[in-house]
Symmetry: C2
Subunit: 355 residues, 2 copies
């Protein structure tokens, strides 16, 4: 048995009557009730992976996880990517179901101390910290395979639950418990790109708008070989990247506030794994749905993934998954000496200088 947040439905669900999905899918269940779910992204931004700042960041990561620390994350990962501005970003991503432990970690971890100690005006590099925290009614997830634990699913006290809320447009919305009572509209109808913040040499806070949608969409092909490996690298991945390019190029139209394609790293060797995830911030859940429902780039990805699922069944070695969080009004994103295209800086209604 797992615990789920459920509301009596005031708004109709999107699932068609008698719907039977073409492929099996799973969602995250919790062994015990949870009241706030946290994903904490803390990163260094530097010229390249050899920059001294990256070494300092990794030393802080090691100090944070070296001893069986109090308030340790329930799960954590390292990921990296080179962004549109050419900067190398190395990300520490951690998950908690216990929000008090997360709050204590913020006060006590060497990694957060490193971040707070940075002098924006004199730092030779950038750093950023984005805390995504929502009640569980504002979270949903989907996995193509229950035998792996990605993202928040790596926390103890969780399990994969088979479901049929998948395989139709609107399924992600239906999986968000709060969608039963709230259409999750944005507070302002249109996405507005702000004039670029003067972010170099400064410590800035950025506030996303109410009901900003955050997706982490994952691809795992570490165990793929032969035909399936080739199919992923030569067919599915190019389709995925075409979709991501579209979402970035047409950001104003699609409601894309930020999009990062991150590569997972082995925590010990720091070698890249055959595992990526796309971290996307969207103006609203409807923006994310609009692309998924209406654009050829999404249809190409989706149909390809479903076809291979049906072709290989349990023998499928490429796993796809995502987790979505719809934020209440928040002010938890902080950028230190980052370039102005970092994170949600270009699209945030409010930027505050921290002095």
């Amino acid at each position: 048995m797992t615990w789920t947040c459920v509301y009596p439905r005031l708004l109709p669900e999107r699932r068609p009557e008698g719907h039977r999905p073409r492929a099996p899918r799973w969602t995250l269940g919790f062994d015990s009730p949870a009241s706030l779910l946290t994903s904490d992204y803390l990163a260094v931004q530097a010229d390249g992976e050899e920059a001294p700042a990256v070494g300092e960041f990794l030393a802080a990561v090691r100090a944070t996880h070296g001893s069986p620390g109090a308030h340790a994350p329930e799960a954590w990962e390292l990921l990296s990517y080179t962004d549109e501005a050419g900067a190398y970003n190395l990300v520490h991503l951690a998950y908690w179901k216990n929000s008090t432990e997360h709050a204590r970690w913020l006060h006590s971890a060497p990694l957060t101390a490193w971040f707070h100690g940075l002098e924006a005006a004199t730092a030779g590099h950038g750093a950023w910290h984005e805390v995504v925290q929502v009640p569980p009614d504002r979270a949903e997830s989907i996995y193509s395979d229950p035998r792996h634990a990605f993202g928040m699913a790596a926390c103890t006290g969780t399990q994969m639950v088979s479901m049929t809320y998948n395989g139709y447009f609107g399924a992600a919305r239906d999986r968000l418990p709060v969608s039963a009572i709230d259409p999750l509209e944005p507070s302002e109808p249109h996405l507005r790109r702000s004039s670029p913040a003067d972010s170099h040499g400064r410590r800035l806070r950025a506030e996303s708008g109410h009901n900003t949608a955050v997706i982490r969409s994952g691809q795992y092909w570490q165990q793929a070989e032969g035909e399936q490996l080739a199919d992923y690298e030569q067919a599915l991945r190019p389709k995925l990247m075409a979709g991501m390019d579209h979402l970035r190029r047409e950001a104003d139209t699609e409601g894309t506030m930020s999009l990062r394609v991150m590569t997972s790293m082995d925590r010990h060797t720091l070698r890249p794994l055959r595992e990526t995830s796309v971290l996307g911030h969207f103006h609203s859940l409807a923006a994310l749905e609009g692309w998924a429902a209406g654009h050829a780039t999404h249809a190409a990805i989706y149909e390809h993934a479903i076809a291979r699922n049906r072709q290989y069944g349990d023998a499928r070695t490429v796993v796809t998954w995502h987790e979505v969080f719809v934020l209440p009004r928040t002010a938890a994103y902080e950028y230190v000496n980052c370039h102005p295209a970092t994170g949600i800086l270009p699209y945030t209604p409010t930027v505050l200088a921290v002095t």
Copy 2:
């Protein structure tokens, strides 16, 4: 039937087995499920009620409520008080069960436009804005009489529900649904008074810590006459004020971050009503409980109120009530050119300058 947020209990409730309260009490029920509850306090701070800034504030209030505006609060009030520093504060307090409507109100109301337009460096007065927003699992309420609608209970779609979770120490905690699964501990064990922020001439953000407890505790004696009026003014009120003085004087020990005794005003005539409420911020729920469980000043208030309840029954004309919200980590409090003892400024771990 009303909707209530309920968790399977992981932590024991405090209610003694077979408990029967000495006096009947009610709590707030919702006709439909809600996902985020909002109390929005927006105030002007001036030398006195005749200050020009007070007139400007009231004009913005009238413009906000003059037309049957979109995104109007579901309930609203005006309250005033003179604070410890001798400043006059006039407060617009508004409630929403719909968080999207609140977010839209922030973008569209003349009152919030007035607040955002203030130039901290040149304003001849202060202003502050404190948004208390929590999922319903972090809210609880109690009323001594179901025939009046105070605070959030003035929103449509709510009703008074009779209960027996009252009349024992720990009852407020038991009424918080999240207490079934979370002990609501603060992220740092001790309350820390910061060195006073240089708040004059500046626009500052203040962040309370995780699990800060906010109480609005109300007293209503508008309809009291004769013996009951005399009893309130000469006996219960002095006991209440002795308790408040203690909480303010021993703030460091009691965990009091802020305490304001506000008088409700008639919205049309602006005359004071025979209605007050104490808005208190505490380092943790345990701090609030510690005073209630252990201090003679609370016992005096409590025993007096219960005795009069039993004496007069339904004929009791003095009504007491409260609503408590336990905040997740937040950054929604903003102070413009306020004196440094305003709100949570003296006790906040983080103060940010908004430029």
